[in-house]
């Protein structure tokens, strides 16, 4: 399952919100992220992302967004999920 998704993600880190705690860097199974010289998480091996979602779930500052690459590129815009599309009641 993981392999199917490998390389299909677009990862965005908002440096302004990143405090450089290093959780995402430490626990990323694909070693996708590293801390930059300024101490911010940066994407270095996006192609190795298996879309486990760990970094996004564990970022205490909501600074990482992982998206579907195809979707983002098709739109040429950062994908914005609407809260409504996932509402169970809809």
């Amino acid at each position: 399952m993981a392999n199917k998704k490998k390389g299909k993600s677009k990862i965005t880190v908002y440096p302004d919100w990143c405090k450089g705690c290093g959780i995402c860097v430490e626990f990323c199974p694909g070693r996708v992220l590293e801390l930059s010289s300024q101490g911010k998480a940066t994407v270095v091996r996006e192609q190795d992302c298996i879309r486990c979602g760990f970094c996004e779930l564990h970022c205490p500052d909501f600074a990482i967004v992982v998206q579907d690459k195809d979707f983002v590129e098709a739109d040429k815009l950062p994908r914005r999920r609407s809260a409504k599309t996932t509402d169970k009641g809809e």
Binding site: K19, G53, A63, R81
Partner: protein, 280 residues
Amino acid sequence: MNEITGNEIIHQYLRHNKKFPHVLCAGCGHGIVLGTLIRAIHTLAIPKDDVVIVAGIGCSGRLAVYVDFNTVHTTHGRALTFATGIKMANPKLNVICIMGDGDALSIGGNHLIHAARRNIGVTALILNNNIYGMTGGQSSPATPEGSTTMTNPYGQLDASFDTVALARGAGANYVARGTVFHVKRLEKIMVEAISRPGFSVVEAITPCHTQYGRKNRYKTPVDMYKWLKKAAVPIDRYEEMTEEQRTDRLPIGVFVAEDRSGFEERYLSLQAQMRAKGGK
């Protein structure tokens, strides 16, 4: 991938007129708890207007200001009393209390046990970081024995509270513990806690590196997450362990899951009954 994990969804629940990043330290688990709570509310599709976040004082108390719900930042330890009033005044609201360990177990300990006894329909989310963070790292009732803190520079003498045992003993309807390392499990717990009737207690273990970790053999925030990864054991596995294996381990999962109706429901039905009788 339609699974609700994205931070984009969380961004929609944050107050856009608040400055980010939030005030909490790098690596503080509180942000993760907040994100998890937002996902749980999103999963349950509860409208923002119907959610009331009641917070106490301390680092955890600061979370309320960032989310776009009805938010009430109360006095130290008293969050549950405000929540009780809100729930009784308007039972349709989903009332979620965010408290720290000092908040819920020390200054607010009495309110916690009585909210549990009364089984008021409120979700109590206790963010246990084993320390008083905001005031500068003094011992809390959840500080492990032997730890070094600002008020116990030679080692903590008292035993620490077991939140789960306390909540269970006081009669809470739902009691669970999770950690900010095991986020998906924590989210599942929160969904269940919010959707059950009566009083739910969720203890979220969330590390404080700045005030606790640094002084207690954890060099970086990451070390604290490694500790969580190692120490937390699902309750069923924990039960099979020997006393020796249990040392320094922390059982996580659901400890109590009942469906007793909340105080507000019982009150309303009593009221209906009395009124049907026409008074006396």
